[in-house]
Symmetry: C2
Subunit: 304 residues, 2 copies
């Protein structure tokens, strides 16, 4: 996403802030940004930008892997919430504020697919709440910034299980776990029965959707950006195993089941009616193709 | 609540912070507090207590009337969220953190009565979200403070439509609106049909419940504190009108209907199983009795 914005905007006008908690995306791709700063949003005067006002503020913060965000839940909550407050402060009154929210705002949904109007089923005292509730808080804050005319426009993308090249091998989510395990010849570990369903969305499709939301659309409101083909986690594990074997006939991992994660949603699938209508967006990369590309990327990253 | 805590704790050990946005409760009752400070929680070093650590932190912040909290939604969101973050910072690792959360975390519920395990139906981009979502965020943050052992204990009370003496006559919620209008001989204004139901809970019952939660209970988890007899808003309007007429036979207000409020919940009633079991709490003041006492209080406040 940082790369896509760099290709679009004059570098001298871009400022990036990242505390590199779980990635070094700005470090890798943002070398030429005018004000690249390794600093947390939580600092009172983060990056010395207290009195800056930007035309476009893009809030991509927080790890999205439950393993990562639950490792320090207070940091997750505080980082997202104070980060959101700073973004409002930093946006010009005629500026645009954008954030990557999440399908986690739907919690463990009882409606499928989930339209943007679905209010969700989140346990606000549970172990996933640090992420889910701080994202819900951010959506609420940005909408009020728009309603009170503190900013001119707000765009909120609700992402569904993003994966692909760029993910850390030890990210902790299903696709990266499975690929890393299969490439190393280790057992593939599935939490619970594996019958829980997800809509795994390839990174290139996501970036395409987000760029359209920022630059080609004036719609105020959350938009689902996600694959609308749902797969069980177990099927993904099988797919990874088969594709690794296609590359090396000797590799064939056992699939083992661990205890189910607390509050793990049983299904998650976007209703894409609005995204299709408003930004003409459709996910194009099938999960078979996306997994294949991700395996190639991880093979190189891991030197295998 | 401030009065009840004052009667229980040595005054010299209590510090109160209030920016007096909608009330002057600390000013009225907290005169003898050692560190009474009129200052917002949002200031970086609110009240100069940055490095203090307290045994008990009680977070009562935010107006609860939709009229009031929607008047400045960014202030509501930011005040609640940063207030909650400060409370965690200020609590000793072996201390207790307490907050008055709200039945608004249940949104517009499709389950009735609502047990604490009900996940709610809140529109996180709607006009009530500034209050609802910042309270949900606070619950999440406090639970993580407990789970990560940052604090020893957390108590969360979910309050249902509190009313009674001490409320501002222009508070903006149903009971105070109706009483003020009826006492002034003005028309009583009901939003929508008035068939939406609420569980109006008298202030003395609420304070009794909160004090038990703080001092006589070690339960970690949210507890509903509310009247479990649900009434339509229209019935409350009739009750107010009749009781004002009992005091002055000439007073008899017309009841008029205004447009329904956006996202107004259609029902709201607590399941009190846990509160009964854990703190032996039951609401004792019927709404007829509570309204009668509140009318007497408002008559004096308004000089009528």
């Amino acid at each position: 996403m940082v790369r896509a914005i760099r290709e679009r905007e004059p570098l001298a006008r871009i400022v990036g802030l990242d505390d590199n908690w779980t990635s070094s995306d700005l470090g890798d791709h943002g070398g030429a940004l005018s004000g690249r700063v390794r600093q947390s949003l939580q600092d009172t005067d983060a990056g010395g930008f207290k009195n800056y006002q930007f035309d476009l503020v893009v809030h991509l913060a927080s790890p999205a892997s439950p393993l990562r965000y639950q490792a320090d839940p207070l940091r997750t909550s505080v980082g997202n919430a104070i980060g959101a407050i700073r973004c409002v402060e930093w946006c010009k009154p005629d500026g645009v504020i954008f954030t990557t929210s999440t399908s986690e705002v739907y919690g463990d949904p009882i409606v499928s697919p989930q339209p943007e109007s679905y209010k969700g089923q989140v346990d606000c005292t549970g172990p996933r709440a640090c992420y889910d509730e701080s994202k819900r808080f951010t959506e609420s804050l940005f909408f009020d910034a728009y309603r009170t005319r503190r900013v001119a426009s707000v765009r909120i993308a609700r992402l569904f299980n993003v994966y692909g090249p760029g993910t850390l091998p030890d990210d902790g989510r299903a696709v990266s776990n499975f690929i890393t395990q299969a490439l190393r010849g280790e057992a593939i570990t599935v939490y619970g029965t594996g019958q829980q369903k997800r809509s795994f969305t390839y990174i290139d499709d996501v970036v395409e959707g987000l760029m359209r939301m920022i630059y080609d659309c004036s719609y105020i409101g959350p938009l689902n950006i996600g694959m609308d083909r749902e797969e069980t986690v177990l099927n993904i594990a099988h797919c990874v195993r088969e594709q690794v074997r296609l590359r090396d006939a000797d590799m064939y991992s056992e699939i083992v089941h661990l205890a189910a994660a607390v509050d793990d949603p049983q299904q998650r699938r976007p209703d894409l009616t609005l995204a299709r209508k408003l930004i003409g967006w459709n996910p194009r990369v099938s999960y078979e193709e996306g997994i294949s590309r991700t395996i190639d990327y991880f093979k190189e990253e891991l030197g295998l």
